[in-house]
């Protein structure tokens, strides 16, 4: 081996790498972004979860229990006036879990053990299995300890009464009561696949055609940009719609994970989302000068799209600014819709806001894709 030659080769490689601003940016930004995203933003623990609270007892004992929960600092408590408001907030995703203290809480603290005169209910959305499991275990432990402490401190208002042990902590899961993680992951996987694969496939299409000269040729024919756009996305959209059908079938037959909602509705929404992702791919392609650049851009775009869209980690656990960013990803809304159909069996009416967001993003991206094909700078 000739050391001089190796040095010469290394020098050339370093120069080539450092002179490409895109590569340098990627080499610096990707590790930092990954570190921040994975280490700081993404978390499946319960810290910072918004916890709904309804205190139907309104006694010093119940207030002490709630004070213990608040003092723990793990949750962000939010008070609700009644139980139905709490359930609505859980369904709407404003809170991740909830604690309901019954009216008889104070009296039950003095009841004999095992009589279970009052139940402190812990409610959570079982659709998010990991977080739900963690939150439930954490809350049960914390509430149990707090009640024990109340008992030990004589938290009951009447001294000399019988030891209060008539309070039980029970959990109730909204949706996915068996806490089966498969439907949750299956519904999310649609988002991952339809975001990454579709974007990647179209990302190289225009840039390849441009290199071969066929795109320029296409642009001087009477075909309009809209016709070219539709000619590109509709066949791929059709293929991916079939893909979605196959995935639904495979998940149902092999894993037993069928959508609780309407399958045709799910395929229709997914097909529209495919068109949105294909449009994003076309934008990437039209703004890239080589297939390699298009692939790099796709990977760079898809990583945050997938990681921050709630596919693997709950968005509500992320810092607030990141949650705002997540809202501008079409994947976030699609994954919500997908899980709502799979796990909660929701239909178009319940999902109207998310569907509207998908529609807005879809039309926006298709518009940008069309503009990027005009090429009349």
């Amino acid at each position: 081996m000739n050391g001089q030659r190796v040095l010469t080769l290394m020098r050339r490689e370093a120069r080539a790498t450092l002179r490409d601003p895109f590569t340098v940016g990627m080499l610096v930004a990707v590790p930092l972004a990954a570190l921040l995203v994975f280490g700081f933003t993404i978390s499946a623990d319960v810290k910072g979860l918004v916890l709904g609270i309804h205190d139907a007892s309104q006694t010093p004992s119940s207030r002490r229990l709630l004070a213990d929960i608040e003092a723990n600092g793990q949750f962000k408590p939010r008070r609700f006036a009644d139980r139905s408001a709490i359930e609505r907030a859980l369904v709407g995703g404003q809170i991740s879990a909830a604690v309901i203290i019954p009216p008889s809480f104070d009296r039950a603290l003095r009841d004999a053990p095992g009589t279970a005169a009052a139940e402190v209910q812990v409610l959570y959305d079982g659709a998010e299995t990991t977080t739900a499991g963690n939150a439930e275990a954490f809350l049960r432990g914390m509430i149990g300890a707090s009640i024990a402490s109340l008992t030990a401190r004589g938290g009951a208002p009447q001294p000399g009464a019988a030891p209060p042990r008539g309070v039980a902590v029970v959990s109730r899961v909204l949706f996915n009561p068996t806490l089966d993680g498969t439907p949750y992951m299956v519904a999310g996987t649609f988002g991952f696949v339809l975001t990454f694969l579709t974007t990647l496939i179209t990302a190289v299409s225009i840039v390849n055609e441009r290199l071969q000269g066929t795109f320029e040729q296409l642009q001087v024919t009477p075909a309009t940009s809209l016709e070219i756009f539709l000619g590109k996305v509709l066949p791929l959209g059709g293929v991916f719609a079939v893909d979605v059908g196959l995935m639904v079938l495979a998940a149902g037959v092999i894993m037993g994970a069928w959508p609780n909602g309407s399958i045709p509705f799910f395929i229709a929404v997914s097909s529209f989302y495919v068109l949105t992702s294909l449009a994003l791919g076309l934008v990437i392609s039209a703004t890239s000068s080589s297939p390699a650049e298009a692939v790099q851009k796709t990977v760079l775009t898809s990583i945050p799209l997938v990681q921050l869209s709630g596919f693997a980690f709950p968005i509500r656990n992320m810092p607030l600014p990141v949650q705002w960013v997540a809202e501008i990803f079409p994947a976030t809304h699609y994954i919500r819709v997908s899980r709502a159909i799979y796990l909660r069996g929701e239909g178009p009416l319940e999902l109207l806001p998310e569907l509207a967001m998908l529609l807005v993003f879809g039309l926006l991206l298709m518009g940008v894709a069309l503009r990027s094909m005009e090429a009349r700078a």
Binding site: L211, Q212, G213, T214, E216, Q217, L218, Q219, V220, T221, P222, A223, T224, A375, R376, A377
Partner: protein, 304 residues
Amino acid sequence: MIISARGLTKRFGDFVAVDDLTLGIEPGTIFAFLGANGSGKSTTIRMLIGLLKPTAGQIELDGVDVIRHPRAVRDRIGYMGQKVSLYQGLSLRENVEFYAGLVSLSGAALEQRWGALRERFELGDAEAERPENLPAGIRQRAGLAVATLHQPRVLFLDEPTAGVDVHNRAVFWDLIQEEAGTGVTVFVTTHFLEEVDYCDRAAFIDAGKLLVDATPEELRRRYSGGYRIRVGVAPGALEPAASALRAAGYTWCAEADGSELTIEALHPAALAALHSATRGAPVSIDQPAMADVFRRLVSAGAPP
């Protein structure tokens, strides 16, 4: 004029790619547009065919305002870029059907048109082949055939003979001249300067500015040392021939092995004077190379 551009300018930031270019081309003309790499040739073509919006200026093609209605000219033009724009993975026949579909040509009309082109461009054997498997010369011919499928009024050819061997280039130019013979206007860029002689007119562009726009003969007259004519005259006939030519206004230089005459252009009068003065003597004429013309032109920075 079938193509008319006035004050055409294109800026990319501070860089002026095309600077106040004015052109007028008559129908049926083969117009060569020449210049070094980066001189503004492709930018000009892209503006003329409506792919790029000029920063300033006006373009009219076959009576259509290209800047205002870029799409309206597209069924009147045929275009063939530097890379022959046939889809790989599709056979030539499938490519033809694809492009024909975009210009609403199908059924019997397509068969009739393609049948004629296939025969004229000698593409029968290539029809089932994929473009990537065809030799460059045949691929270029196929590209030209596809570009003329819809019988455009103007053909834009951007370096159509790049990478093609000498024989196939000649065949290709024969086809271009045939097209022009049917009234099609051909706007062509090329790096092969000798190909200018296939053209009716040639324009040179340098750093975005038009240097000259003239016929090949006029370019030679203005930007070369002129035609060099060598005449093998018998010693006794030298002086009478020289006198006859001097009388006709031409310079005669006696050489050791004969005589040499230099004239700016091959005018019929010069040829007649030469013929009468050197009757029976062997004559060889050196045409000034277009590369020399181009070199002199660029170094002179000639105005149009």
